[in-house]
C-alpha cells in the first residue's frame, strides 16, 4: 500500500518550545486514520503543517506522493480539510460560501460547480437550507457546511479536525455514516480527535500524540487484539480462585482474569467444579487503556513545582 501521508522527523519549534517533536506519521491509502491526542499535544500544529499553513522547522512531509512544498501545493486540491472548526463569510449564504471557496483555488471547474455544491449540500444534510446567510446557521449547521466544503471536489484524502464538534447525537451518527460511506468509495480519511470513542468506532489505524511525540502508531485491531486471557464473571470468586489457582492474573470483585485464550475450556473447568459463571469473554484491552498506558498526564494540567 502506498503512503498517503508520510512524515519523517517532523519538528515545529516555537522559540524554545517543541510543539511537534520529530514525528513519523504513516497513513496509507484506504486507511481511516485516527490521530489521537489531548488538547495541546500538537495535533493541530501537525495538521496545519500537512496542509502547508504552518511551516515546519525541520523534517520531511510527503503528501499524496508530493515531497516538496511546491509539489504539495499542487496536490492540495485533492485534499479536503476541516481545520479546527468551520469558518465562513457570515453575510453570504452557504451556497455562495462554497462557490467562493471552490473558485479560490485550482481543481474545481466552474462548469460543474453548481451541481457539485448541490450534491455536497445534499450529502451533509443541508439540501434544503435555501438562501439564508450563514450567520443565521446553528453551530451544527456550520459544521455540516464546513464538511461540505471539504467534500466539494471528491477528495482522495480527507483531513478532519474534530469533525463532530457541535453536533447532536443524531448528527454525529449521520456524519459517521457519511464518513464510512466515503471510505467505502475509496477516500482515505485522516481524523484528528481527542474523543477516544469516536476514533475507536471509525478508525482502522491509530496514531497517538503526546506532548509533540508520536508515542503509538498501529492498526486498531492489533492494539486491541486479545491478550490471551479470558475474563470470567462469577458470584463465587473464592470458589473459582481455589479451582483456578495458578492461572489467575487478577481478581477484582467478581471479575477474574484467567490465563488461557479458550473461554470454552475455562467455562468447562469452572462448571465441572460447580462454580456458577454469569459472564465469560476473551480479554481485549480497550483503546482507552492502551492510550492511557502510553501517555503521561494531560498536558493542560499545570502542576505546582515544590
Amino acid at each position: 500500500m502506498s503512503a498517503v501521508i508520510a512524515t519523517r522527523g517532523l519538528v515545529k519549534r516555537y522559540g524554545r518550545l517543541r510543539a511537534v517533536d520529530g514525528i513519523d506519521l504513516d497513513v496509507r491509502a484506504g486507511d481511516v486514520y485516527g490521530f489521537l491526542g489531548a488538547n495541546g499535544s500538537g495535533k493541530t500544529t501537525t495538521v496545519r503543517m500537512l496542509l502547508g499553513l504552518v511551516l515546519a522547522t525541520s523534517g520531511d512531509i510527503e503528501l499524496l506522493g508530493a515531497r516538496t512544498a511546491r509539489a504539495r501545493q499542487r496536490v492540495l486540491p485533492r485534499v479536503g480539510a476541516l481545520i479546527e472548526g468551520p469558518a465562513s463569510y457570515g453575510h453570504l449564504s452557504g451556497r455562495e460560501n462554497l462557490a467562493l471557496l471552490d473558485a479560490s483555488g485550482p481543481g474545481g471547474s466552474w462548469r460543474t460547480r453548481t451541481r457539485r455544491i448541490a450534491a455536497v449540500l445534499e450529502q451533509v444534510g443541508l439540501g434544503g437550507v435555501g438562501r439564508r446567510p450563514v450567520k443565521a446557521y446553528s453551530l451544527g449547521m456550520r459544521q455540516r457546511l464546513g464538511l461540505a466544503g471539504a467534500l466539494l471536489r471528491r477528495p482522495d484524502l480527507l483531513v478532519l479536525d474534530e469533525p463532530t464538534n457541535g453536533l447532536d447525537p443524531q448528527g454525529i451518527s449521520e456524519i459517521r455514516a457519511l464518513l464510512i460511506d466515503l471510505h467505502r468509495g475509496g477516500t482515505t480519511i485522516f481524523l484528528s480527535s481527542h474523543l477516544l470513542a469516536e476514533v475507536e468506532q471509525l478508525c482502522s489505524r491509530v496514531g497517538v500524540l503526546d506532548r509533540g511525540r508520536l508515542v503509538l502508531q498501529d492498526e486498531l485491531a492489533t492494539l486491541t487484539a486479545p491478550t490471551g486471557a479470558t475474563v470470567v464473571v462469577t458470584p463465587a470468586p473464592e470458589q473459582a480462585r481455589a479451582l483456578l489457582d495458578g492461572r489467575l492474573t487478577s481478581v477484582t470483585g467478581d471479575r477474574l482474569v484467567v490465563r488461557g485464550s479458550d473461554p470454552a475450556e475455562v467455562n468447562a473447568l469452572l462448571v465441572r467444579g460447580g462454580v456458577p459463571v454469569t459472564g465469560l469473554a476473551i480479554e481485549r484491552p480497550t483503546l482507552e487503556e492502551v492510550v492511557l498506558a502510553r501517555t503521561a498526564a494531560s498536558p493542560d494540567r499545570v502542576e505546582a513545582h515544590p
Binding site: 499553513l53 481545520i83 479560490s104
Partner: protein, 270 residues
Amino acid sequence: MILVELRKTFRRPRTWATIAVLNALPVLVAVLLVLTDLAPRPGEGPPFLSAVLSNGTLYPLAALAIVLPLFLPIAVAVVAGDAIAGEAQAGTLRYLLARPAGRTRLLVAKLVAVLAFVLVTVLVVAAVGYVIGTTLFEAQPVAGGTSVSGTSLTPEEVAWRTLLAIGYVAVSMLGVAAFALFFSTLTDSPLGATMGALAVLVASSLLFTLDAASPLAPYLPTRYWLSFVDLFREPILWRDVTRGLALQGVYVGALLSAAWASFTTKDITS
C-alpha cells in the same frame, strides 16, 4: 481569484455603507454652503470650496478635498486592513490557503480588490460631488472655469484635469492601502492593522507641520496629498505631482514587498 476577491469586497454590505458614509460629509457641506452662502475664509477650509459658490462643476474636487484628510484614508485603511487580518479573524484564511489559493496569489488578489475599492470610492465621491455641485450651485457665467492661477479653462480642460486629479487622489490612497495591507499580514486583528495604518498617517501629518522635522518632510507619505491642486494651476505645476506619484510608488513597492515577504513566510495559526 481576483474575481473572487472583487465579489467578496463588493458583495459586502459594509463596503457600500462605508462609501455612503464617505459621501455624507461633502453632501452636508454642500447643503450648508447653499443655505448660508458662507464660503470659508482664504487660506482656511479645504481647497476649491470657496470657488464652488460661483462654479458648481468644481464640487467634485472640493468633495475630494473634504474627504481627503481623514474620511478617505480611514475608509481605505479599514478595507485594506481587513484584507488578510479579516480573513484570519474569521478563520477563513486557513481554508483559503489549504484550498490552496497560493499566498502570493491571494495577496495580489487582495491588493487588486483594495485598488478597485479605492477607485470606486474616489469615483463615487467625485460623481456625487458633480451631481450635488451642478444641482445646488450656480453654473459659471461662461462655460468652463477659472484656474487657480486666474486664467480661464475650457470645459474640456476642467474635465480632463478633474480626471487627472481623481487618478492622483486614488494613487495617494494606494500608499495608505499598502500600509494597511502590510500591517494586515502581521496581525490577526483587522482593527489593529487599520489603526496601525492610521497611526502612520497621523504621525506623518503631525511631522509635516513641525519645522524641526522638515528634513523628513519630502519622505512623509502625506506630504504630496494636496498636490492635486497643482493640476489646476496654469501652466500645470507637475513638480509635486510627479514627486507625489514617485513617493507613493516607493511606499507601495516597499510595503507590498514587505507584505509579501511577511505573508509568504508566516505560520497561519488563526
